[in-house]
């Protein structure tokens, strides 16, 4: 069994990471999942959260917001609408994200309120996971 697989993290503006990974922990819409080499081909949407990539030399973490992940035979590709290395995330950035999510929640149509409330909650959870409290 292969030890590693190709992992790509791309945002609309640029390719953030492209490396050999041992495992990737993805914040899927219906719960976290860990993809390892030879995982069954899967496509899942993302919720805002922390994406962890384990490589031979350690692990890297990224904050991602919506998008989707494609786990295939050749490797794993995460297409995130916005992604940023965890170390670079600042309080301001997160505040901004949450503010926008809250705004969307306020404007949401009745059938969408659940989804947008979940979005806000996910953002807050991601924040507290990183030790940033959003005010």
């Amino acid at each position: 069994m292969a030890e590693t697989m190709q992992f790509d993290l791309v945002s609309p503006e640029r390719r953030l990471a492209s490396l050999e990974a041992k495992a990737v922990r993805i914040p899927g819409a219906e719960g976290d999942m860990t993809a390892m080499p030879d995982h069954a081909p899967t496509i899942t949407t993302l919720r805002p959260g922390i994406l962890t990539v384990e490589t031979a030399s350690g692990s890297e973490e990224y904050l991602v917001t919506g998008g989707f992940a494609e786990i295939g035979a050749e490797g794993t590709t995460v297409l995130a609408e916005a992604a940023m290395p965890k170390a670079e995330v600042t309080q301001d950035y997160l505040n901004d994200l949450v503010a926008r999510a809250r705004e969307a929640q306020a404007n949401a149509k009745p059938e969408m309120t659940d989804a947008s409330a979940k979005l806000v909650a996910d953002m807050l959870a991601a924040g507290s996971q990183m030790g940033i409290t959003v005010n």
Binding site: V10, P12, E30, T44, T45, F68
Partner: protein, 291 residues
Amino acid sequence: MPSLKDLKNRIESVKSTRKITKAMQMVAAAKLRRAQDAAEAARPYAERFNAVLSGLAASVGESDSAPRLLAGTGKSDVHLLVVMTSERGLCGGFNSSIVKLAKAHIEKLKGQGKTIKVMTVGKKGREQLRREYGDLLMAHVDLTEVKRIGYENAADISRDLLGRFDADEFDVATIFFNRFQSVISQVPTAQQIIPATFEAEEDAGAATLYDYEPDEEAILADLLPRGVATQVFTALLENAASEQGARMSAMDNATRNAGEMIDKLTIQFNRSRQAVITNELIEIISGAEAL
């Protein structure tokens, strides 16, 4: 026959024009590089996205419950044309070629008795379209303040589009932009984005069977709006690169023309100077002979 002084002034003014066009050409060349890099960097995302989306669409597409963004509203009475042009001029036929394509489209749709609405991105296209189709213009996106086009700009435009689609303001949306091919060639392109269309890439057999989480339709409903934003973003980037390319070649031509004009004027200037000298000599000689 212009006087020597006039000619000298003309030459000076053409020379300073040449300096300006030369500078603009260099600036455009630098910006073109950046715009091309940006377009290049955005390509992997757009490609993967479209691949996954078209795979999904193919498997869900036929069912009755397909999302409206994919299946459409069931009619095609109201067309929205999103015309993307530049904010600045002096870029050759860049804006005119997009507007020409859009106008041809408008006339064709009018002939079919459809209702047309136009949304403009970039003020140059708006100015050109206002003359003939002022009553069709319904929205305008101003990117004057934007130095570097980011995904956010595209997301804003697509949010606006989707809002209007949900409010049943139109049935079909098409974007018009210039696809960048090279510095000297940009191809005006019309692309339908709502309902979504995919360039059919038939690699039958190679398609992997994926597990979907949540189910296919939920993913599709989530991804289609993002797909619109991705397409708008790609178009914006292609357009930005094309604009700089068009400006670069336009300014290159202008610089060359100015050079030719300077040469011509200089020859004319030298000739008339020589004529003046010859004239003076004749006067002196005939004066001396008369003595």
